[in-house]
């Protein structure tokens, strides 16, 4: 069932709802199927895959923080080859689009994993996770450097015609520049943003709480950071943006659409209430009706009025 006015296009891929379940937060969808109606979800972004199997980081991998949480899973996954061999049957039967996610430690790793995913019809689109903060201990990911970003996107673009989403990091000074590099190399959409780097310390035991020391902060705590990132990226590129970071309600979702996102990602919210995505879709429909709008696109970027001019805040008084 499609709700009028909520569909969204990511490259050639048309999704009935603008709600994507964040990579790493939603398994393959099957884990959440007993608690959520996957036919009311735009797409599931699968857990990021690497060339070789990875057991991920030492435990603990999760810490709850004020209005958020830290995770340092470390890209646990069975590797692309094993995944393609064992997991695709289930994906083929999924009631919503499945988007593959690719992570790696070298440009050729992204290229190889992308090429393998691109060959599979069960995969509707590919997201490049160049921004996972949990595998580079000092936080330097591909998404922190415009040239590295460009290199990865170029390599991936060469091997697939599937819609290509590039997932950006908030742990940078100028996210708009990095977004432009990704767009210039052929990204069909940008996911904005991945988690913010952070850590927590156990003050009883005098040691970091996470096995990996540093982790990625998600949840409502980071929403203001993510909304600003979307706002800045939307001014710099023309491709659609998938806004994410701390969305738990329809009002939160609207912040992202108004900032310039065409779709949203929902991650952490699923952990405390798997009905959130479904509720947001229903409430977005109601919102459009109530405001007399026909399509969600009518509000995309509508609060994006630029920045206060330099003169305004000079405001010299003497």
């Amino acid at each position: 069932m499609v709700s009028a006015g909520l569909s969204v296009e990511i490259g050639a891929l048309r999704l009935p709802f603008p709600t994507l379940m964040g990579s790493g937060c939603y398994g393959t969808g099957a884990e959440f199927a007993p608690f959520a109606d996957l036919s009311r979800v735009g797409a599931v972004v699968l857990k990021s895959l690497t060339r070789k199997p990875r057991l991920g980081n030492a435990m603990p991998r999760l810490v709850h923080t004020p209005a958020g949480m830290l995770n340092a899973i470390g890209l646990q996954n069975p590797g692309i080859d094993w995944y393609l061999e064992h997991e695709m049957v289930a994906l083929a039967e999924a009631p919503c689009a499945m988007i593959g996610s690719v992570a790696g430690f070298a440009v050729d790793e992204y290229e190889e994993v992308c090429a393998k995913l691109a060959a599979r019809p069960e995969i509707a689109a590919i997201e490049l996770n160049i921004s996972c903060p949990n595998v580079a201990s000092e936080g330097e990911t591909f998404a922190c450097d415009p040239r590295l970003t460009a290199a990865v996107v170029r390599a991936a673009r060469r091997v697939t015609r599937k819609p290509l989403i590039v997932k950006l990091s908030p742990n940078v000074t100028g996210i708009a520049t990095i977004a432009q590099h990704a767009e210039a190399e052929g990204a069909d959409a940008l996911a904005v943003v991945n988690t913010v780097r952070g850590m927590a310390i156990d003050v009883d035991r005098w040691q970091p709480r996470l096995g990996n020391v540093a982790g990625g902060l998600s949840g409502p705590a980071i929403r203001p950071i993510a909304v600003l990132a979307v706002y800045e990226v939307a001014r710099a590129v023309r491709v659609p943006i998938i806004g994410q970071g701390g969305i738990v309600s329809t009002a939160d979702a609207l912040e992202f659409f108004l900032a310039g996102a065409s779709a949203i990602g929902i991650g952490t919210a699923n952990f405390f209430d798997p009905r959130v995505p479904e509720r947001i879709v229903a409430e977005l429909s109601a919102y459009l009706a109530q405001r007399g709008l026909h399509d969600l696109h009518e509000i995309v970027g509508r609060a994006n009025v630029g920045f206060a001019s330099a003169e305004q805040y000079e405001g010299d008084a003497g």
């Binding site: 857990k47 999760l62 995770n71 646990q76 069975p78 405390f272």
Partner: protein, 226 residues
């Protein structure tokens, strides 16, 4: 069982303390904000529950002589198992420890249900002074050990079980996010040969990660590689 209260808090994981055809009983310690919210519910208010999630103790094979080790809040997760074992004729000995006497709760119900009960507190205010595992250490080896409590207690229990050459089932505690196996945040290293090991390519040293919320929370002590 995951109980998501309103707002942006994470869900609370709780074991089912007691249950019949009509009711589910939960027993929990008010430890922070989320359990305080739960405890603040009044009769007639509704709350969303997801579960039961994961596995439980495996009571097949009709063991006749079972030791149950519970630490603190862990008591909540072993009552149903204790009752079921007594019902099939097993002799059940509960070893139950907490920091202080006031934190020892509900153990009379175990006694009434037909369990033998031994208590320990860290400050000696009730039962024996010290850790509950000291009681188990001195006991005659049972046929099976079940345990639920803080991780250090579980590790000590596993070591004792190994020395006694008795199988032990441990209900592990961990911080959860999704609670349904979707995020790989709650793993424990386990022998890949275990029936509980998740589907994964062969690992070099034969160890993989099982999800406590999905393949667990109960694991066989001898299969853990933690």
């Amino acid at each position: 069982m995951a109980i998501p209260p309103g707002g942006a808090a994470a869900a609370v994981a709780l074991g089912i303390y007691d249950a019949d055809a009509r009711d589910v009983h939960l027993l929990f310690v008010v430890a922070g904000k989320r359990t305080r919210d739960l405890a603040g519910l009044r009769e007639g208010e509704t709350v969303a529950l997801a579960g039961p999630l994961g596995n439980g103790f495996d009571l097949g094979g009709v063991p006749r002589d079972v030791a149950i080790v519970a630490g603190g809040v862990g008591i909540a997760s072993v009552f149903l198992a204790a009752v079921a074992l007594v019902r099939v004729g097993a002799s059940v000995h509960l070893y139950y420890g907490a920091r202080t006497a006031a934190m020892l709760v509900e153990h009379e119900r175990f006694a009434r249900a037909g369990c033998e009960v031994s208590l320990a507190t860290e400050d000696g205010s009730a039962g024996e002074r010290g850790y509950v595992t000291a009681l188990l250490e001195r006991a005659r080896a049972p046929e099976l050990i079940l345990a639920c409590g803080p991780t250090p207690m579980l590790r000590a229990t596993a070591a004792i079980a190994q020395r006694m050459r008795v199988p032990a089932q441990l209900s592990l505690e961990e911080t959860f996010a999704c609670g349904v196996g979707g995020c790989w945040g709650c793993v424990v290293p386990i022998a890949q040969s275990s029936a509980q090991a998740p589907h994964f390519p062969p690992a070099e040293n034969g160890v993989v990660h099982a999800r406590i919320c999905r393949e667990g929370p109960v694991f066989l002590a001898q299969e853990l590689r933690w």
